[in-house]
Amino acid sequence: MTRESLLVLRDLQTWYGESHILHGVSLDVAEGEVVTLLGRNGAGKTTTLKSIMGLARHRRGSVAFGGQETVHLSPNRIARMGIAFCPEERGIFSSLNVRENLTLPPVIRDGGMSLDEVYDLFPILLERGGSVGTKLSGGEQQMLAIARILRTGAKFLLLDEPTEGLAPVIVEQIGRIINVLKERGYTILLVEQNFRFASTVADRHYVVEHGRIVDEVSGNAVSSNREKLEAYLGV
C-alpha cells in the first residue's frame, strides 16, 4: 500500500457480556479510501464498527487511528479524534425535528461541510426541516443520518449498511453521495451486504465471517471473484 494507513486494527477482540463476538479482526484503511466490510447477518460487521467507535466497550487488541491507540478510550473521546458513526438503525431522534437532528452533532474541528453545502447535497432536508425526524421516509432518514455527520469536521466515516431496505433509486443516490464524499477527501469504512452496490463505490472489500476477516478483495477484482463473494454472502 502506498498511502499511509489512517486506521489500523490488529487482533481486535470484542465481547458482549459473556459472548465472544470478534475473534481477532485485523484490517487497514488508508486515508481517502473507501473500504467495505462484507458478510452475512451476524458475522460481526456492526460489532467491528462499534468496537472502533468504543460503543462496544469490552474490547481488546489494537485500534490505532492516525497513529494513536484508541482501544481504551470512550466513544466521545474517539469521536473527537475525527471519527463519525452512522448506525445501522439510523438513529434519527424522534424528539427532535429534522433541523435539530441535522445540527445536533457538535462540530469537532474545522474542515466540515457548511450547512449550505449539506443542503446542496441533500435538498430534501431543507424542505423537511421542521418535520419530526422520524416522520421522514426510510430513505430520507438515511440521508439525514449521513448528512448530520458531514458538518462535524470528522473526515473518517463509519457507515453501517446505508442502503439496507431502500428502493433502488435511493440506493443509487447514496452511491453518488459516497462518491462525492470520496472526492472531497473523506475516508469511509462501509458495512454492506449488497456487494453489487459495494463494488460501485469501494476501493477494497474485506469479508467478515464469525468475527474474523476471512478474505480481502480489491475493487477491480470483484468481477473475477464474483462467485467466491456470492458464496461468502450466501446470495
Binding site: 460503543l55 466513544p75 458513526f85 438513529g91 431522534f93 427532535l96 445540527t103 469537532i108 455527520i149 462535524t152
Partner: protein, 295 residues
Amino acid sequence: MMEILGIPAPVFLGQLLLGAINGAFYAVLSLGLALIFGLLNLINFAHGTFYMLGAFVSWLGLRYLGIDYWTSLVVAPLAVALFGIVIERTMLKRLYDLDHLYGLLLTFGLALVIEGVFRQLHGASGQPYAIPSALSGGVNLGFMYLPVYRAWVILASLVMCLVTWLIIERTKLGALLRAATENPDLVRAFGVNVSLMITVVFGFGAALAAFAGVLAAPIYSVNPIMGANLIIVVFAVVVIGGMGSIMGAILSGFLLGLVEGLTKVYWPEASSVVAFMVMAVVLMVKPAGLFGRNA
C-alpha cells in the same frame, strides 16, 4: 354571598388556591424527577429529600448565618445541587450498568438515612420560617383574599417550569439532552460527554427540588419528613404525565393540585387519595401517561 357550584365563592376559590400551590410544588418536583428519569433511567427516591434539604438549608442559613430568604432562593438550590452531584459521582455512577432497581434502592436508602439524621438533629416537629417582609400581607380581590406569598409561590414555580421547558425544547443544549435521553450511546459517538450531562442534570433536578423546598419553607413548617409526605404524590404525578415527559410533568402537576383542591371542597375524605385514583384511571385508559409516547 356569591356561590360557585353550591359552595360559597371564598371557600371554593380558597381551596382552588391551596390546590394551585400544592400543584406548583408538584410541578417543580415532578419536572426534576422526569428530567432525571429521562436521562438516568433512575427513579429518584431521594427527590423528596432534596426538597426537604432545600427548606432546611434555608432555615439553617437564616438562623445561624443570617442568610435571608432571597439569598436562600439561590444558595440553597446550589448547595443541594452540589450535594446531588457528589452523590451521583460517588454512588449512582457505579450503578448505571446494573438493573435500574439498584438506583432506586440506593436513593431510597439515602432518603431514609438523611431524613433520619435530620430527625435526630432537629426532631420531627416543624420549624417555622417567617414570610419575607416584601411578600407578607395580602390583597383583597373582592371575591377573595389572596395572600401575596402564595401568589408568589405559584408565579415563581410557573416561571421556573417555563424557563426549564424552554431550555429543553428550544435550545441546542436542550436538543442534546432530548437526544441523549433517547439514545445516549449515539450522542456519545458524536463526541458529547454524556456522563457530564448526566451529572449536571442530576444536580439540576436536585436544585429544582431544593428551590421548591425554599418556597415551601414559609408555608409548611420545615421538618425532616416534609419531602417524604409529598414525594409519593409526585410519583403519581409523574406517572400521570407520562414517565419522562417534561410538559406532562408540569401540566399534570398543576392539574393534580387543582383536582385535589376541588376534591377537598366536594369530598374532603377523598382528597388525600384522589391523586392515586386519577393515576389508576390514567393507567387504565392511557398506560403511557397523558403526555407519554406510547411504547
